[in-house]
Amino acid sequence: MADVVVEQGRLVRSTRPRKAAGLRNVLGRKSTVALFLTLPLILLIALLVLYPAFYSLYLATLNKAMTKFVGLGNFTFLFKRETFWMVVKQSCIFAITAVVFKALIGFIVAHFVHNIPGKKQRKWRGMLLVPWVIPPAMSTLAWLWLFDPSYSAFNYTLSFFGVGPIPWLGDTFWARFSVILVNVWYGAPFFLIMYLAALKSVPDQLYEAAAIDGANWWQKMWYVTLPMMRNIIAITTLFSLIVTFANFDIVRILTSGGPLDRTQLFATWAFQVGIQSSDIPLGACVSLFMVPILAVAAVFILRDVNKRGNEA
């Protein structure tokens, strides 16, 4: 957009030189005002986001006492550690499984909510969005209490069905299951609300036209609903992928990475290594490994958001 304006300015300047001076003045004044208005934003991003990001790169090349430059020493050290590869694997399992289930549950529930008559929709939507509103640290405490080894309300309920006590947070499989479950519980309402907004934006005429052409439910879904929602689904999924991949609160409170680091994610492991064991360079190094996947997701989101902007 900026380029267009600049080019227009040039065009005007070359053809009508007398008016150009006045126009340039206005432009000049406007850009001064604009700079003044955006300066706090630029400073904030530069000092507290960009600078730390590059500082993190620098920190990652130091030794533990931060006195000596070790180059890629921290990275090669990580590559040799088994825990690191476990964290990579777990982060991927966690993020992918959680996002898939969030997307599925959100999609299904959005259809159910969309099905019911308008007035009641508001009430249901309000109820179903509650998990997203509660601060995750607070709701995870409730889950921790539901999973409690000796007083677990889940195990109490399951015992009536003859299902033995499940070690929710004590066993590798169940601990991973539990952190994913809590994340799905927390994130599914977000998908629900996004999909519901997308569903409402599909024009009724399209369904009517499909019905006249004799399309069944699946065909309507496949040829009308999904193509119309494709962009929102892509943006929501990618966004959720970033947030889930970088998740900290849930794992930290629920398991602290245990048992035996079996639920550790990049964020929680970076916290443990960098802050709790005060090996800041290694912690910075661990968190930097999130960058590639975040960058890829960000690029795709940006593409989709811009596409939407152009459509509108």
């Binding site: 957009m1 900026a2 380029d3 432009l27 406007k30 706090p40 934003l41 630029i42 904030l44 991003i45 507290l48 986001v49 600078y51 730390p52 990001a53 993190s56 529930v109 159910f112 019911i116 508001r122 249901w124 939507r125 969005l129 509650v130 998990p131 997203w132 509103v133 509660i134 601060p135 640290a137 607070m138 709701s139 405490l141 409730a142 209490w145 519980w185 599914a188 977000f190 996004m194 004799g214 069944n216 439910w217 943006i235 970088a246 900290f248 609160d249 930290r252 964020a267 916290f271 960098g274 802050i275 800041i280 910075a284 968190s287 999130m290 975040l294 997701a297 940006l302 596409k307 509108a312």
Partner: protein
């Protein structure tokens, strides 16, 4: 199951059977909605149930889903404990200041980015959006070290002080708020501000007299977002503050109420519920703005 039921509502049936199928589809929808509502509401309801129990009743391991001797002692204890009130106070003051700072930064910036096409404005808008995608877990270590270095150089205590969070939180709130405000400002018809400029209004007057009143719903959505994000933030306060009197609510509850192996679950659940209350109250009253803010991020390009 449900798909089958909905499938029957196909277009080729006779009118009578169609409406009957619709009724069945509706019933199935309600059935599954109830199931999902149970799944979604179990933890908050369980919080409430536990918060009404005494420690004796919890350790007696009676039916966990029912309160036999409801008591408000947990609430009384927490609301009279200076420590807990301190957490609440810290959280409140930080969130309110962060909301103000966020608005002061993002409204002028969004105005400039939406209306004044200047050199690099498109790049900056994209940059703002990308900043929004940078998670807190990527920056907490360099920020921690940065604060330590600044503290060493200037002698100003930054680590383990709640006020430092006021400077850090805007990195999480400003990008998104700016982004949705750009969307709202851009949707205001150009004729409106052109008319104001012709009438001799300055840029500042245009912003204050026209843009802010017209984009008020967006402003409310952005405010709610900024507040809930700062209220719920857990990682930064966990890293930057340690003394009990400097903690915010989420960190305070998880670190002080959980003492070693002794879990006072009645109080923890009460604390968690009280901590969840402000966002829930805001949500209950301003649900439409809340949802508008939530969906605006991805739908406004």
């Amino acid at each position: 199951m449900s798909t089958l039921a909905i499938d029957k509502a196909g277009p080729t049936r006779k009118l009578g059977s169609m409406s009957r199928d619709r009724t069945w589809a509706l019933r199935w929808s309600y059935f599954f909605l109830v199931l999902f509502a149970i799944f979604f509401l179990t933890p908050p309801v369980y919080m409430l149930i536990t918060s009404l129990k005494s420690s004796a009743e919890i350790s007696a391991a009676t039916n966990p889903w029912w309160v036999f001797h409801p008591t408000l002692s947990n609430y009384v204890e927490l609301l009279t404990s200076n420590q807990f009130l301190r957490f609440f106070w810290n959280s409140s003051i930080i969130s309110i200041v962060v909301v103000i700072v966020t608005m002061l930064i993002s409204i002028p910036a969004a105005f400039a980015l939406a209306r004044m096409k200047f050199w690099g404005s498109a790049t900056l808008a994209t940059g703002v959006f990308l900043t929004y995608l940078i998670p807190d877990s990527l920056l907490f270590i360099p920020l921690f070290k940065m604060l330590a270095v600044i503290q060493e150089f200037t002698g100003i205590t930054l680590l383990n002080r709640w006020y430092v969070l006021v400077f850090i939180y805007p990195t999480l709130t400003v990008p998104f708020c700016t982004w949705i405000m750009i969307g709202y400002f851009a949707s205001i018809p150009k004729e409106l501000d052109e008319a104001a400029i012709i009438d001799g209004a300055s840029w500042l007057q245009t912003l204050l007299r026209i843009f802010i009143p017209v984009a008020l719903p967006g402003l409310i959505a952005a405010t709610i977002f900024a507040f809930t994000v700062s209220w719920a933030q857990f990682l930064y306060p966990l890293v930057f503050t340690t003394s009990v009197d400097q903690l915010v609510l989420p960190v305070g509850i998880t670190t002080t109420l959980i003492k070693g192996d002794v879990f006072n679950w009645g109080q923890i659940m009460t604390g968690a519920l009280l901590g969840a209350a402000p966002p829930l109250v805001i949500y209950a009253f301003l649900m439409d703005y809340y949802i508008a803010g939530l969906t605006a991020g991805a739908t406004k390009g």
